[in-house]
């Protein structure tokens, strides 16, 4: 038996999705809006999910999201959510898994690196 240890440190340029990742690092939801059919998609993908057009412009969303389905692991929780204004939905980490709620807001989560995370709104609290 041979044991080999590799340590990999990737540097991954994001190309034309760079504005999305830069906004995410500030806690802002930057979506794509299709120049042909007006579909708004978040997270973005570089091509319209409805008509296939590639002329997409950046547009900011409020960052609020509605939970469609939620799954809990022993130490974390994830959800399929729809961000307000977007036609597609997104898989996100839930930053406060102890809270049970179907509404939340995009947050910067240090544990998620560049992934999407939302903080759920406590029931009875103010706006999200």
């Amino acid at each position: 038996m041979t044991t080999r240890r590799l340590t990999l440190e990737h540097s991954l340029p994001k190309g034309r999705l760079n504005p999305y990742f830069e906004a995410l690092a500030q806690g802002t939801a930057l979506a794509e809006c299709c120049g042909s059919c007006d579909r708004v998609q978040f997270p973005p993908g570089g091509i319209c999910g409805q008509c296939g057009a590639a002329d997409l412009a950046w547009t900011s969303l409020s960052g609020t999201a509605v939970v469609i389905h939620r799954t809990d692991t022993p130490d974390r929780a994830f959800a399929l959510v729809r961000f307000e204004g977007a036609r597609n939905s997104a898989v996100v980490a839930i930053a406060n898994p102890d809270v049970r709620s179907n509404r939340g807001r995009l947050v910067i989560s240090p544990t998620c690196a560049q992934g999407l995370a939302i903080e759920l709104k406590c029931k009875g609290s103010g706006d999200v």
Partner: protein, 415 residues
């Protein structure tokens, strides 16, 4: 791809076949691709000190024996392996060609996540059909169980989806499958008990299979008592990470020795891909690419889904088996048919008699090759485990990578 047709034009070229005669070109009636033979290693967590190269050799030598062929008869090698991270071997096709004594053969590697092995069989079929090769060995291998620790494997596999979103979020395969299953359950009324029934049945089927990783005598209550991995999925709803290899040899009948034994033909293949991210799909619980792949494979075979008498279906998770059966068109009401026992070993359409990924196991690159092999053997009644009660004429094989993102379907037919 229809695999029996009247070829037109100069479709194929006459090529030399590695020391064993010459390939006929693609002209003529009744061009067929047969599963000439095959073999697999046990799927399990290896503790015997053997290496993935040994497993490839064992599967290949077994397949040659099964096909009654000499090593020199093989003129092409297609390798399926999902990730170099497991083997720490880049360009594995050349290494495996070297290990198998196939130096001089054309060799390549095919990768499509969990569909890798099945796509390798498709690639080999295309090589034979086009006249580029006479006898192709499709070898699938993965060392997913023991070469890396489970946590590292989990991190690597989480990059099977959109690495820039899902991968960075840290969401596991199980959580993504769980979210998809919830959408499916909401639409169809399937319950956790229906999922557990699949988990139990596949493990029970595996008990007759000497190569199975998880032959378990369990009941639904055992599934319900197993630890939650990502709700609603519990440990026993999930397929294992396995080590192992499998090989099938593909050829036209005229390029094979007459052994007097019946063989199985690949009569239709179909493949398709879906949006990678669950949230980009109109219905995250529905496997649309699998629907397309199945339609294409069935159309190529010239049959409808009703003709299928046995199936090996990609059950990476218990719920995924029900989602797959729905997408493959093998049922008009998957929940009702599941509860009525239609997919049981003695049901009308036995599914995963091998145990599937849940029971037989899942060394990723080898999985699809083993699924093709199991279905071919079941059609002949020679699978070393459960076989269909009647001898069906047609069998269906279904595999996918991602979450039904890269889909491959084949229809097999007894000659």
């Amino acid at each position: 791809m229809r695999t029996e047709f009247v070829a037109v034009g100069s479709h194929g070229t006459v090529l030399s076949a590695g020391g064993s005669g010459r390939c006929r070109n693609g002209k003529g009636v009744g061009m067929k691709v047969l599963v000439a033979g095959g073999a697999m290693t046990p799927f399990n967590r290896r503790k015997d000190g053997s290496s993935w190269r040994d497993w490839c050799r064992d599967a290949f030598v077994g397949a040659l024996t099964d096909a009654a062929l000499e090593r020199s008869a093989i003129d092409a090698l297609v390798v399926a392996s999902e990730s170099d991270f497991f083997t720490l071997q880049l360009n594995p096709a050349s290494m495996i060609a070297d290990t198998l004594g196939l130096v001089g053969c054309r060799s390549c590697r095919v990768e499509g996540g969990g569909a890798s092995g099945h796509l390798a069989v498709h690639a080999g079929t295309a090589m034979v059909l086009s006249g580029q090769a006479c006898r192709v060995a499709a070898v699938g291998v993965e060392a997913s169980a023991t070469h890396l620790d489970g946590k590292t494997v989990g991190i690597l596999l989480s990059h099977s989806f959109d690495s820039w979103t899902d991968g960075f979020t840290g969401v596991s395969s199980t959580s993504i499958y769980a979210l998809s299953a919830m959408a499916f359950m909401e639409r169809t009324g399937a319950t956790v008990n229906d999922l557990a029934a699949v988990a139990v049945r596949n493990r029970q089927n595996a008990r007759a299979n000497p190569n199975a990783h998880l032959p378990l005598d369990i009941r639904e209550e055992d599934v319900a008592a197993s630890p939650v991995v990502s709700s609603p999925y519990r440990r026993l709803d999930c397929s294992p990470l396995s080590d192992g290899a499998a090989c099938v040899i593909l050829s036209r009948p005229e390029d094979l020795p007459n052994t007097g034994r019946a063989r199985v033909r690949i009569s239709g293949t179909g493949a398709a891909s879906d949006r990678v991210r669950l949230g980009d799909r109109a219905d995250p619980g529905r496997f649309r690419a699998k629907e397309s792949a199945a339609r294409r494979a069935l159309a190529a075979a010239g049959i409808t889904a009703e003709a299928i008498g046995v199936a090996e279906v990609y059950d990476s998770y218990s719920g995924a088996q029900l989602q797959a059966l729905e997408a493959l068109g093998l049922t008009s009401d998957v929940v009702a048919d599941e509860r009525a026992g239609r997919f049981a070993s003695r049901g009308e359409l036995p599914v995963n008699l091998s145990g599937g990924l849940l029971g037989q196991g899942a060394p990723v690159g080898a999985t699809g090759v083993a699924q093709v092999l199991a279905t071919a053997q079941q059609l002949l009644g020679s699978f070393p485990g459960l076989n269909p009660r009647w001898g069906p004429k047609y069998g269906l094989v279904d595999s996918h990578g991602g979450i039904a993102t890269t889909c491959a379907v084949s229809v097999l037919e007894v000659q």
